[in-house]
């Protein structure tokens, strides 16, 4: 997309990013907060996500009954999500709706209500969301594996929170968390689309300029200690299908090992790109990838995938496989471990390196095909790393060497520092 990007910081500390893209009469507005589930303390897990839900329920100047339709009038879509490092809200609509979108985000930052009845009503909605995801054995296993892979770092708890915390959290817990973190100096507003940069900056100043900065939110500094020895989880529940997870500690986005590890992931399971909003919705090119050949082509698994996600602190390289009906998990695990052992012992080939880079180059194009996706990427990287990392990603991928990939394979794919998860269906099938 032809574009130019402008970055400005208002007096109250709000970062504003504007990118003009004149391909359709649309604008996408994103508002990002540097707060996610890693910032939660014990007893309040899930508070970031619950706060996100509450911030769709009306404000001082947007009455509850006027929330519905406020963006739809401009043909727009809206959404929001919370993850381990960040919380974000978005609207994409016709450019005529730009002021309305900015107004909504300014209201969301400063004037949400937290009506006690709404808080109670949302408690059951979120518990329903949690239980809906726990219906999926693969999601349930992932939650348990991540919890086992960390001893102290708050990445260990699920973004949606533990059920017991969701049952006991109060309206005041939610409101205090909101007030502490939803301040302009903890936020980034992104506008991408068929807009004029100077005009956008004036409008942003009008909508957000009067919101006072707050005390700098508390930052997590805890470092996960080194893992000594493999950890294993076996979730045995009634079901039809067996699942395997292998979790390896992985580099953070700011670590120089991140991009070599991204290339390694492409070689093992196919390139996914680096856009959480769009990339993982399209299957990666993986038919010649090592783990696909080792598991799926050998009829041990019906599917295999992995994710290396750009995160602020070191997260996990999580490999997932669905056992083929009638295949023992032990056989899937052995084959996966052997394939990973091969790459650790022998390294990768030059051809694999070229292929992985080609894949990532293509994915970076595919994942930036809309103003919404572009807006996501700018805000995401500004929040969890820096814009420089995002802008430089194509060069950093191109510069990765075979030796670097071999080195990260040895450094991170260690069986004595991994967590293995089995989901064993107790009716006997597949186990």
């Amino acid at each position: 997309m032809d574009s130019c990007m402008t970055s400005v910081v208002l007096d109250n500390g709000l970062t504003v990013l504007v990118e003009e893209v004149h391909t359709a009469p649309l604008a996408s507005v994103w508002c990002w907060y540097k707060v996610g589930s890693k910032d939660e303390v014990t007893g309040l897990t899930g508070v970031s996500h619950w706060v996100e839900h509450m911030n769709f329920k009306g404000t001082t100047n947007i009455p509850r009954d006027q929330v519905k339709g406020i963006i739809e009038k401009f043909g727009g879509s809206w959404n929001g999500y919370t993850w381990i490092d960040q919380t974000t809200y978005m609207e994409t609509a016709s450019t005529a709706g730009l002021d309305r979108m900015l107004f909504i985000e300014a209201e969301r930052m400063a004037n949400c209500i937290y009506d006690p009845d709404d808080c109670e009503s949302e408690r059951t909605v979120i518990i329903s969301e949690l239980q809906g995801s726990e219906n999926d054995p693969d999601t349930l296993l992932e939650q348990e594996v991540i919890a086992a892979a960390y001893k102290v770092h708050p990445y260990r708890h699920p973004t949606i929170g533990w059920l017991t915390d969701l049952q006991t959290m109060t309206r005041d817990d939610l409101y205090q968390y909101y007030r502490r973190n939803y301040v302009p100096n903890n936020a980034t507003v992104v506008v991408v689309g068929d807009v004029d940069t100077d005009d956008v900056l004036r409008r942003v100043e009008t909508q957000f300029g009067a919101i006072a900065a707050g005390p700098a939110p508390r930052r997590i500094t805890v470092v996960e200690p080194e893992q000594f020895g493999e950890r294993r989880i076996d979730v045995a529940r009634e079901g039809t299908t067996a699942y395997l997870k292998l979790a390896y500690h992985a580099p953070a986005i700011g670590d120089r090992d991140f991009f070599p590890m991204l290339v390694l992931d492409a070689i093992l399971t196919g390139a996914k790109g680096i856009n959480l909003w769009s990339s993982f919705r399209t299957a990666p090119p993986q038919r010649s990838a090592r783990l696909y050949r080792a598991l799926v082509e050998r009829r041990l698994a019906s599917a295999v995938g992995a994710g290396l996600l750009p995160t602020e602190h070191p997260f996990l390289y999580l490999i997932s496989a669905t056992a083929m009906d009638g295949i023992r998990l032990q056989d899937v695990e052995s084959a996966a471990t052997a394939a990973l052992g091969d790459v650790v012992r022998d390294g990768i080939t030059e051809r694999e390196l070229v292929k992985a880079k080609n894949q990532l180059r293509a994915r970076l194009v595919f994942e930036n095909d809309s103003v919404t996706n572009l807006g996501h990427q700018l805000g995401y990287f500004q929040t969890v790393a820096s814009l420089d990392v995002y802008r430089d990603a194509p060069n950093r991928i191109a510069a990765v060497t075979q030796e670097q990939v071999d080195a990260v394979a040895k450094k991170y794919l260690r069986t004595d520092r991994r967590t293995v998860g089995w989901y064993t269906p107790t009716d006997g099938a597949g186990a």
């Binding site: 039809t240 196919g270 090119p285 194009v365 595919f366």
Partner: protein, 422 residues
Amino acid sequence: MTTTIHKGLAATRHVLDNDTVIISKDAPTVPAVTIHVGVRAGSIYDANDLIGVSHLTSRVLDRGTARRTSDEIAEALDDRGVSLSVSANRHVMNVSCTCLSEDFEAMLEVVGEVIMQPAFPEREVGTRKGEVLSAIRQDEDNPAAMAMLTLFATLYPDNHPYGRPSKGTVDSISRIERRDLVAFHEARFAPSATTAVIVGDVACERAVAAAERVFGSWRKPSVGDITLAHPPSQRSRTELVIPMMNKVQADIGYGFTTIVRSDPRYYAYTLMNNALGQYGIGGRLGDSIRERQGLAYYAMSSFDANVVEGPLIARVGVSPANVDRAIASIDEEIRRMATEGMTAEELADCKQYLIGSIPRLLETNGAIATFLQTAEFFGLGLDHDLRLPSLLDAVTLDDVNAAARGLDVNRAAVVVAGPYQR
């Protein structure tokens, strides 16, 4: 013959000598191209004793051709970072490919081979059968999937092609052999049943020329079509429970059969469904079940008019303790819609939303390709994107309320799957 529309999407439609339809749209937003090739070879064409043959064909189609092995195709795709997938819906098998524009011709060639000359290697058939069987077993442990499969079987009984499981059954898949896939391909794949849509950073002339090179020499007689039976009218309410006591949440599917896509009431139904279960966060259903009562994370409805009467379905996921209350709430909203209809303000809001969202929905290559493919399948015209706003705008309050009166809670099919028993 070439037809060109010069406003809106401004797509070009070209019919080759062998009757293959080529639709192209130059969209230079990013240096990428999306290719969708649809063949009228969906699951409705499965024989009753070989349910799932279309789906299994889609899984094996791109795993080897007369000219390339499965590994060679894998390398060709992976070397360039290309996404290639084959899927089958009720009517159409679709080969979808997204590639960089520099790889367009090479990838269209692969897509063409896959469609015209699949080899169906015996080993690949065996591997993909295993995958499909695993997927069927996963569905059996998935309350949302079980609710939908059972609801469709209820709305479309007696082996109606819309009521059969598209993936097939453990029994049917176990019986399907390579020769069945070869026979299915031979019977259903032909130029006259094929539409190739090409959207992206490639000039229309280049796209058509490439398509002509790939598909132009394909010679095969036209394939016959089948006539689908109309689904039976629902005379009474049906309620079914699929107990899945190992789960924590229940999924409810609640539906009716409605109208065909060519019915003039299509846009009235679309607007009525938008108000019922989509506008905002799940329309009236979301307002009641999620926002006011806090019962569910999701509550929404969908409307899918098709070649024969398609379904309107409400879906909700709730804790088992709230199943009865959620069903009563759906009943209440359906009854209210049927008896009181929509308000003029509500209709205006839904029109404004659906019309206003067209540019957003047609922003990406993939979305445009899907839109053009659907317009071609239902004969909506190359200018459908231009006419769509006026088609929606012309719907009156009487039109939507007449559509709403067709919804009768006493004739609904209701399925609950999850940790719930009566």
